[in-house]
Symmetry: C2
Subunit: 582 residues, 2 copies
């Protein structure tokens, strides 16, 4: 196939778009791959659509290879199934909702668990029908609060979502592993540098959920990995190692101290160390109690929640939210403090919380037998040697404290370092949540119903265009991996002579006949403009037909390395075909 730039619907831009913060966004717009059509909505111009379709093709091939079957659901869906699972309200503002002409409620599908479950229930009834894996490559809609970075986080985007349906846990584990292996193949084929991170807290089981993150500075997801093992996890999924409980006997009594002018942990520690208590205190010896309010989806009323963390760490709201999901979490307002006068700001301690029935969850490090400096529920007063399990008993633990580089890895090997990534895939053992909601059963060999167990697996297909661009570019432009490039070769005619144009035409024609797709710059523009566009567009191999043609040579340039070689014109088609078809 030959694509002529003289007629291609493409205009590259010399300037960065004003609203673009990250390299992929900047370059995809400048190189004419995408255009903004709406907040979080992008148009795919011809070259962009080709990259998107190339990625879709790789995804489909690997999904088909594990026996998943492609189907396609509508995006416009009735409310009822999503009400049955509670997601109609759980999704909150992120769900696009609308009414039809009769006033019936609809939504634009953010993911399709409900529809897949109902469809399998509609077709299958016997244990002999299972297992089955189904997928779709589909446009999805989420009303993101902050759509950003072009196609990296849109409100309308292409996603591959698949679902596995199995009779038992072993089957689910097998389907999960098939998807995991397929995802590894897909992301390898797409030339991505990525990590697989644990994505749920330990309470749900180690392998129940993993995310594939493309390593990128511009990524929204922070993850940590161990310096001493393979361990990698989303910050939200890091499980704090729990120290052993300590004996309580023999610990000193709790004592309230007057601690004037100690509004912060630092001033408190300084004060105590100057108070002649015969001990050295650090921030890690203090217990900071942070108040938030929570409510479950669909609820109107908020409930107070106190979170206790060691004073040397902040509360990480994203970790807290992930731990409390699906509950909503908000910070307290002045009115909340006014309504609860027992909350003495800056001096909140377990005593007042528990006396007033406030739910109190603490960091897992706060085990029985540990002694803390904390608020005494009275302005300018703190209590020292308040012992967990003796002087206060939390209602449970919560993963809310920030994770820091240098923390011990949860698997005991090495310490944690932080990095940023773009979520490109997520595999998740759903279990029976949706099967329960819709009573998806198979009739077993003994004629008794068996509740089906499901897995859910997603790939952000349109986001991958941006993720690949984040990893594959330089200061001149994009540098596509062969598997997704909008063309195999960018053929530039550099010169004004008819003979050069004719030479270009001949080479383009021969390459095309050999199954090489050619982006052919046959424009009457200056070589400088053409070279700049070629670097910007990022096809991996650039062939320049120019004044060397008179001497029987053309130039072949590797876009990634910048390496140039002069190739005899008679050999160039073989040479380039070899590069392309390996």
């Amino acid at each position: 196939m030959i694509t002529r730039m003289s007629s291609l619907f493409l205009r590259t831009l010399r300037e960065d778009p004003a609203d673009a913060e990250v390299p992929s966004h900047r370059l995809l717009v400048r190189a004419g791959y995408v255009r903004r059509a709406a907040p979080g909505g992008y148009s795919w111009l011809p070259l962009g659509l080709r990259v998107l379709r190339n990625i879709e093709r790789v995804v489909r091939e690997e999904m088909d290879a594990i026996g998943a079957q492609e189907i396609q659901f509508p995006a416009l869906l009735p409310k009822e199934p999503y009400e049955a699972t509670g997601r109609w309200s759980e999704y909150g503002d992120t769900l696009f909702r609308l009414k039809d002409r009769k006033g019936a409620d609809y939504l634009l599908g953010p993911t399709h668990e409900e529809l897949f479950t109902l469809t399998v229930k509609g077709e299958y009834s016997s244990y002999k029908d299972y297992p089955v894996m189904l997928y779709q490559v589909q446009t999805k809609y989420r009303d993101e609060a902050r759509p950003r970075a072009g196609v990296l986080r849109g409100r309308e985007f292409v996603m591959k979502d698949s679902y596995s349906f199995d009779l038992d846990d072993e089957g689910l584990e097998a389907s999960y592993q098939k998807h995991r292996a397929a995802y590894i193949k897909i992301f390898d084929r797409l030339g991505l540098d990525y990590v697989i991170v644990a994505a749920t807290s330990g309470a749900m089981g180690g392998s129940a959920s993993e995310e594939f993150l493309a390593v990128a500075e511009s990524g929204e997801d922070t993850y940590v990995r161990s310096t001493g093992s393979d361990f990698a996890a989303n910050v939200e999924a890091v499980v704090t190692p729990v120290p052993p409980a300590r004996p309580i006997e023999g610990l000193p009594e709790a004592q309230v101290h007057h601690t004037p002018d100690t509004p912060t942990i630092d001033t408190l520690v300084d004060f105590l160390n100057g108070a002649g208590l015969g001990r050295e205190f650090t921030a890690a010896d203090t217990l900071k109690n942070v108040l938030v309010k929570t409510r479950m989806p669909g609820q109107k009323e908020w409930t107070l929640l106190a979170v206790g963390v060691p004073g040397d760490r902040e509360v990480d709201m994203k970790r807290l939210e992930a731990s409390l999901e699906p509950a909503e979490v908000a910070l307290l307002e002045e009115a909340d403090f006014a309504a609860n006068p027992f909350l003495v700001k800056g001096y909140i301690g377990p005593g007042a919380l528990q006396a007033n029935g406030v739910r109190y969850l603490v960091d897992p490090r706060i085990v029985p037998g540990t002694a803390w400096v904390t608020g005494a529920d009275k302005a300018d007063h703190h209590v020292v040697d308040l012992v967990c399990g003796r002087d206060f008993t939390p209602d449970g633990t919560v993963e809310a404290a920030e994770v820091r580089e240098g923390d011990a890895s949860p698997d005991g090997a090495g310490t944690l370092v932080a990095a940023r990534g773009i979520e490109i895939g997520h595999i998740f053992q759903l279990g029976r949540k949706y099967a329960d909601a819709f009573e998806l059963d198979a009739l077993g060999p003994d004629s008794k119903p068996v509740r089906i167990t499901m897995g859910s697996y997603g790939i952000g297909v349109s986001r991958l265009v941006a993720a690949i661009a984040e990893q594959h570019h330089d200061e001149l432009g994009l540098v596509w991996p062969r598997s997704v490039s909008p063309a195999d070769v960018h053929l530039v005619v550099a010169g004004k002579d008819d003979s050069v144009f004719e030479g270009g035409e001949r080479i383009a024609g021969e390459l095309s006949r050999r199954g090489v797709s050619v982006l052919f710059d046959d424009r009457k523009a200056s070589p400088g403009v053409k070279f700049a566009d070629a670097e910007l567009i990022g096809v991996p191999t650039i062939v320049v037909v120019g004044k060397g043609l008179a001497n029987g040579v053309v130039e072949v340039k590797d876009r990634a390395t910048g390496e140039r070689s002069e190739i005899p014109v008679d050999a160039v088609v073989d040479h380039v075909t070899g590069l392309v078809h390996g």
Copy 2:
């Protein structure tokens, strides 16, 4: 490729679905191609998705062949561009509208003229950039009042829409003809029996708009064709031949008659013929005045409109609506008559209409010099010999009278006969409507702006699945043309012996290696069940590996003709490959 029915996500149904009225809907559901997911929203199961994708491929190939370039817009679009063209309100209830989390207005795209125009304006500026043709294959949304017949008229559907952008009318005509030729190729390749009909009234120019209709009893579109020429047109587009005006001098004076008990045209004609007026009257001599009310999009107030047609014809509301587009048309209610006492029901004449300023449009046959029997604006009274151009002067003409079989063809050759069809394509010279709305200009060679002229071209891609099924089925099931069939061959193993299964496996494998896609019925089901499913599913060639295998033969059956032949097992792969690859 081999698709095994033992694991295919497919369950055929023996019973017709209760809500299916037309054969395509019945069979696509029974054969497991589609499932209803919402009112007017269908899920594509694996075989259905393949047919859809095959059609998309044919459409893309022919669009690419004429130089159209594929791009893709979001479906979720901001209100503003559609407000600029007036379509935000013109579309009425058919547009799905919604708000995002910030309360901003959005719509789900019904067609994308606005976005294409704005995108070309964003990229192109010089006359040298033109012409350009762009297309997309995209999911579209229309809140149809009556979604029906499965994927034949859905509220979410796949459409190919393309747009041409030219500097002048000749360019537009050339782009239009390229699309027309491409559509002919597409529909021919899809094995469709179709007609191309004129789709707008003559006032807009003969070739400005044509529809491609697949001939089908179940079609919603009625069209007429001439018995004596190539003429074919949508009923809405039939232009009434206008008779010449006649001399007024010498015509008798208009006379009011007391015509008791003549509430209908028939009773009126009978009364007049018995009244001794010395003439024979027919219904065609009477002038029937029908009152409706109209309003433009966005207007709240209705305006009265009187439509005069010869009394032997009814007013065809679809023709009237098409003539008055984009105005809305409604019948009068009792309250309207009460508010306008000059309207004497059953006896409305031009006199009261014109005296009261009611706009009065008449059938084109009502030319100056024609004399009519019509209402005298007084109960039980009619006027005879009311002459157009002497006693009344209409405000204009309107195409509102029904078109009947036997009417003279507008081109003067032959008479009209009626038939029904499914609209599968529409090509339309838009002109400068959208270019004007968005000031889409090219800078000409003289540095003066040239307003671009556009064409709009649509194909109902998902509807085509149903249209093809309407034309290609029999009482046993679907009978796909090769170009769209979900597989090349349906290979049935009929028997229980391992040798038969092994034989089937071997043939399936060899066919697949030869590039033949095989739907392989490897289920442990009875031959009867398998044969019935093969007929229902409708793959064009059915190969049966059964007891003949012991004698070295397999059966090859042509699904369309029912013809069977016994082929030596050694020759069957060559034989079938020949059938498939021609």
